[in-house]
Amino acid sequence: MIKVLFFAKLRETLGTSDLEIDYAGTVADLKAQLSMRNDCWAEQFAQENLLCAINQQVAADESPVSEGDEVAFFPPVTGG
């Protein structure tokens, strides 16, 4: 199982803050899998500026996701 978290506008649009799924593979393939849920998810995960972190470290599309990982997706940050 991996934990997937969603933040900010992405969380609101998906109506989901987190989920647990069985997954192993790259971030890109995880996004492809999540996109298959419905059109809304597909649209969200097609966004070019969507950011990803694995275990709270910034990750890229080709980064590998392994059992037990915490994967987070979120829009560009706007703090400060």
Binding site: F7, A8, Q56, Q57, F74, P75, V77, T78, G79, G80
Partner: protein, 148 residues
């Protein structure tokens, strides 16, 4: 000496400067970000700040370690509020102490630029007319961070 706080409560900017003061410090530069009552021509009633607990703190610590490696610093404090913030209230504090002033100015602005573009915080504005909207990331912030 690095200190990072992410908190709902307001903070005392003067107390943070006092804490960084020492007989070796020489220069303390402090930035305080204050919530403006206007954004993109609309009156903003309040703002909600969301963050990624854990990652937010560790990414700020990483920024501070990087600043400490680039400049000779004696101390660095970051406090960032989350939750609801009202116009005129403080949002963020970055305070840096160093033996010399130029290092303190540079490091403080560097940390702010990176906070704006790297630390996982997101702002949602509640407008005066009842609408609410997520604040978009600004290209000017990316350019500012890219300078370093």
């Amino acid at each position: 000496m690095i200190k990072v706080l992410v908190q709902v409560e307001d903070f005392d900017a003067g107390a943070e400067v006092a804490q960084l003061r020492s007989t070796a410090s020489g220069a303390i530069v402090q930035f305080v970000g204050v919530m403006r009552d206007n954004n993109q021509g609309d009156t903003v009633a309040s703002m909600h700040l969301e963050h990624y607990p854990g990652m937010t703190e560790s990414s700020i610590e990483r920024i501070l370690v990087e600043a400490s490696e680039r400049w000779s610093l004696l101390g660095c404090t970051v406090i960032h509020r989350v939750g609801t913030v009202l116009p005129g209230e403080q949002i963020v504090l970055v305070a840096v102490s160093a033996a010399h002033r130029h290092a303190a100015f540079q490091a403080c602005e560097f940390v702010m630029d990176y906070l704006k573009t790297q630390a996982p915080f997101w702002k949602k504005e509640q407008l005066h007319n009842g609408e609410s909207r997520w604040v978009d990331a600004r290209e000017s912030d990316d350019r500012a961070a890219a300078r370093w």
